[in-house]
């Protein structure tokens, strides 16, 4: 028997491009129950599901999809929640095309798109939130040991939740006034509504995790105090310090890091200025440098703030672009222009120190570099000028130094990130574990969560053996 599977994913309704560029509401609107079931029926329920291997937390994908088929959405949610504390978030922001969906066998059939695993995950999570609400899993009996989690990003939240379920007393220390990490201050409302992050935080709090905001470890309290008070520590402080290219004119008015624009808009809600007090600049002609997720978010944010024209410049070509495909397509639909093989070399300003233009040079791709990607090299004499009153650099972030400077014993790798054993997330300091962007450099939400899970398991082992050796 030949099964016939629709070639395309069941489409998801979206706000039309012309409408959404004027608001910060979510772009993708989610599946209805019928659409979800239709999409679930595209899944072959493989005996050896390759998709699961592609997921960093190994969600039982065919397992939850089977329940979606049967319209038992509650059960589907239960399956997912066993592996993933934050499905509503992952379903929205995972780069599925490189992870679960990249491995799906349907996607390997001629002319077929993979099963829309991410969309289904999102549907199930949203359905649960709407119909069931907060449902707490069984917790182990309370244990006496205390664990500190530093940084309330997806990695820290996951680690804290897993440890709380195991009965540990867990305290999260977060530098900002709101927990969530990049989910709150980086990824925009139109891709990930903040209400969803807050909902997931409710769940973590309901598990008994204490979240202490406004605490910068290394300043407000020292690493030493944490080590003295807690039996184990997870460090998940991310890599949020913006880098600048450092070309002439970087300090002109109108040149920003993507981090600044996104923090103002997302964490501080500057898009609602003056109802919220924090302002943000609106440019007419905006240049965004870089082509990762951060660059897409910055470009689409600038557009929504009212820019007439937004141009992304990237020194490599479309093939090398690191952004999620879906978001690139959204950006194209919204009218954002892309200048490939282009590198800014100088910002040009007027007498008041305001940006007026960006001088760029054309690039071509040369020999492959260490990353295996072809290295861009400047084409001499190809300089040209793009008019711009705003430029946003999104060329990558590095580790934030405050905690690391207060913790000199901690071993770092040559890029300045924390060195860990990838099997356990253990650092060189006993009882101290780390994961997420502060270990890998900028990566993904689900990878940070995967690390949080591994660390929780290791911490549980470490603390159990400590108890056992004390008893002896």
């Amino acid at each position: 028997m030949v099964v016939k599977i629709p070639e395309r994913k069941t489409p998801m309704r979206e706000q039309p491009a012309q409408e959404r560029i004027h608001n910060f509401n979510e772009v993708a609107l989610g599946y209805t129950e019928e659409e979800a079931v239709a999409e679930a029926n595209r899944c072959l329920q493989c005996k050896v599901p390759l998709c699961v291997k592609g997921c960093p937390v190994n969600i039982d994908i065919p397992g939850f999809i089977r329940y979606v088929r049967e319209k038992d959405f509650e059960k589907a949610a239960e399956v997912i929640k066993k592996y993933n504390n934050l499905p509503a978030i992952c379903g929205r922001v995972c780069p599925q095309e490189n992870q679960c969906e990249a491995q799906c066998v349907v996607g390997r059939m001629k002319d077929h798109e993979p099963v829309a695993i991410g969309r289904l995950e999102r549907f199930v999570a949203d359905w649960e939130a709407e119909h069931i609400g907060l449902k707490l899993p069984k917790r182990s009996p309370k244990r006496s040991q205390k664990v500190a989690v530093i940084g309330a990003g997806p990695g820290g939240i996951t680690c804290a939740a897993d440890l709380a379920k195991l009965g540990y007393e867990v305290v999260i220390f977060e530098a900002f006034h709101k927990p969530g990490g990049v989910l709150i201050y980086g990824i925009p409302e139109f891709r990930l509504p903040k209400a969803i992050v807050e909902r997931e935080m409710e769940y973590v709090r309901a598990l008994g995790v204490e979240v202490k905001t406004d605490i910068i470890v290394g300043k407000t309290i020292s690493v030493r105090e944490i080590l003295d008070e807690f039996d184990a520590v997870y460090i998940g402080i991310g890599a949020g310090a913006p880098k600048f290219m450092g070309i002439p004119g970087t300090n002109l008015i109108g040149v920003f890091s993507a981090s600044e624009i996104l923090t103002r808009v997302n964490l501080m809600k500057a898009y609602a200025f003056p109802a919220y007090d924090t302002p943000v600049k609106k440019g007419d002609n905006v240049i965004v440098v870089g082509a990762g997720n951060v660059a897409m978010d910055a470009a689409r944010t600038a557009l929504r703030l009212g820019a007439k024209k937004v141009t992304v410049v990237y020194r490599r070509s479309e093939q090398e672009m690191p952004a999620r495909l879906e978001e690139y397509h959204h950006a194209l639909e919204e009218g954002i222009e892309f200048n490939w093989l282009t590198q800014p070399v100088r910002y040009v300003g007027d007498e008041n120190g305001r940006l007026t233009a960006v001088e760029c040079i054309k690039m071509r791709l040369g020999e492959p570099d260490e990353s295996g990607r072809r290295r861009p090299v400047p084409v001499e004499g190809s300089n040209f000028v793009i008019e711009a009153d705003m430029a946003i650099e999104a060329i990558g972030q590095g580790p934030q130094k405050i905690l690391l400077q207060d913790f000199p014993e901690l071993k770092l790798n040559k890029w300045g990130y924390i060195e860990v054993d990838p099997e356990t997330c253990a650092t060189n300091v006993p009882g101290v574990y780390a994961g997420g962007d502060i270990v890998t450099g900028a990566a993904t939400v689900i990878e940070a969560m995967g690390a949080g899970k591994i660390a929780a398991k290791s911490i549980h082992q470490y603390l159990s053996s400590k108890v056992a050796s004390k008893k002896r």
Binding site: A175, T220, I221, S222, E260, Q400
Partner: protein
Amino acid sequence: MYRILKRQRLAEGTYDFWIEAPEVAQHTRPGQFLVVRVHDRGERIPLTIADAQDDKVRIVVKAVGKTTYELCSRKKGDELADVVGPLGRPSEIDRFGRVLLVGGGVGIAAIYPIARELKRVGNHVTVILGGRTAEQVIMRDEFGFADRVLITTDDGSLGIKGVVTDAMKQVLDSDEVDVAWAIGPTIMMKFCALLARERDLKIWTSLNPIMVDGTGMCGACRVSVDGKIKFACVDGPEFDGRFVDWDELLKRLTIYREEEQKSLQRYLEKVGDMTWL
């Protein structure tokens, strides 16, 4: 929540607060600042920590825009949404010999803990306090520990008639000074730094660019020092003023001028008369 334990008016539009913030209070050192968010829709603004005792920190705030107006109208017993700190690198305190500290306006509150600490470790401390009028020379009776105090006012209502650099010249002409600090309005720090450069004197200035997070995560606070880009919140806020690009800093302070005016106007329309502040 962070409770206001004490509030006192020091001069027109300038208020002295003690705020309950145990962790910040216990860890702060002279030269550091904190970030305040007055309420849930508020902006994060940086303010120097003027003093700390037990569980409380002291800040001195001048009302210049929406957020500082709002903060200054908060009463004893009110709570602030967020107080984060201590931020920035502490001042470099050592036994230098003879030191000079120049404070202008609310900058007087910023030099106060530094001067006191420099005295405590055994320096000879000269302080210059400047203001537009006598009233603006805040906290002047708190500098009794200093070896020498000079006061300048623009209108001559107290001390030397003139600006702080006039007093600074007087001191430098007659005295050996090993290292100096100048904290106050940017333009004042610029002229103090120019004078120090002429006299080959190291002068710490506490830069006050616009900030968002205060922890090195946004780059809003970047300044040029000796031709290099620095983040004032983590690399500073104190830098040797002789090497600071002052004109760039002055320009960067105007980035949000239109928005600041709009915000303040909207606020004043809502609350009405604020001239009492």
